[in-house]
Amino acid sequence: MQETLDRLIREVLHEDPQVWAGSWVVYAAALLAVGFGLTVFGALVAGLTSWWERRIAARMQSRIGPNRVGPQGTLQFLADALKLIVKEDLVPPESDQMLFRIAPYFVMTGFALTFVVLPFGYHLSATRMNVGLFYLIAVTALVVVGIMLSGWASNSKWALFGGMRAAAQVVSYEIPGGMLALVPILMAGSLDLHEIIRAQGGFPWDWFVFQTPWGFIAFFLFFATQLAEGNRTPFDLPEAESELVAGYMTEYSGIRFGYYFLAEWGNLWVMSAVISTLFLGGWQVPFVSAETLAGWEAAGTVPVAFYGVSTAVFVTKVVVLMNVIIWVRWTLPRIRVDQMMSVCWKYLVPIGMGLVLLAALTEVLSFQLFGDAAKGPAPLGTPRGALHLAFFAVAGAVPTVLFFRKIFRNIRLTGDRIDLTNW
């Protein structure tokens, strides 16, 4: 972004950005504008998602859902926000006043900071950090601080239990999440989110999820850890209303309560964007190969349409993933707290360690077998691509067969049957 601003200063204001003192003002204003804009973007996404999720939930439960405010109820979130803002703000006098008031700021900050590195399209992101993914893992931990503070400061037993549970869950799932993120890092050799995307290709078989069987397994497990970190069903135990009232949010009301939900729904975008960056090729457009793109960049003639198309591709992937997350929420039941911990520590962590080693070994072996051809994505026609496909077929077929055997066994045991007549 600095280059763009420097060019702006040079060409519009006719000053030298290196020596002109006013460039600091320009920088600060531009950064604040971008920061504020992206925070508002996150809030808008969160609001629209809240409406969309309620509509989908209603559809899945044969209800109508919010459809009165604006066309099809699209403006429902504005009405909700307005209501939350003008609602009486209760801060219990017996709570720890200061911590109670600061906690939502941590949640909001942790949420907004992820947008610093999240890509939106080709060359579109607030900054390109060479430690992007590491930074992302680090700042999402700020949300946990907010959750623990709110749980402790409320001086309510429900909030305390909920906050502790949420903290234990989110920090636990950060371990397998980080380990599984190592698989795409190993395959891309970079932490910069744009570089990770550029190590993939436009077609599905160029994506990291289909490059190696380890990527394939890691994709699904990473998806599960992201659900858990975002406190989404089936891992939404912190908000298990039947046992914990509203968890760490029990004592909150008004817009302070709203911030938690803003961050939670906004996190849908964040986690979908991270998943599609790491495993689903990000903004890579089909039929635009890495060589074409490099050619455009070398000649300085990247078509303006490419920015738009790549953004459209990325947003499509993110929206599809968000929908999947919403479907999961309204399909699966909530798991128990001991199951949640054992899934993390006894399954995801050891599997994650194994996948990292296997991914590393695959990198070594494929370089020894194929030499320099191992540096980029493996196209389908090449021997390396064929080998990947064979690996993938076996590694995909075995769990699939086992899964369906188990499903059919369960159906047989319970005397149920598959009924497709109502389709």
């Binding site: 003008v86 900071l113 610093v116 980080g178 190592l182 050799g189 707290v337 020894q368």
Partner: protein, 138 residues
Amino acid sequence: MLFDFATVLAFVVAAVGFAAITLLMGSILRPRFPNAEKETIYECGERPHGAAWFNFNPRFYIVALVFVIFEVEVALTIPVALVFRNWVFRSQGMVAFWEIFAFVLILFTGLIWIWVRKDLDWVKRFTAGKADVAGGTR
């Protein structure tokens, strides 16, 4: 790099500002009629029994300890994973692989140890005040 950090700072200011402005707007618009009933801590409609700041279940403490250890492990592995491909392309891939392998193996041993000690079990049984270690009576 400094510019990146400046961006992070700007986002912090923007996020805090966003929350503060909406709260400030609300404080002008919203009503405020507190009363004793409204301000009690929620406890299923009963008068709350004492403060909620009491000693808490130690298993969260164990989870937090294990988390710190493994998070440091992930943080240390990320740089290695980052340069791994450079090693591979210099034909030193096997060396790097065995180093990662040794590191992960040591941590895996740690995980097994915690597992055998039953610190990963959510419902951990305590017998006569001391932890039920593997091979002990259950």
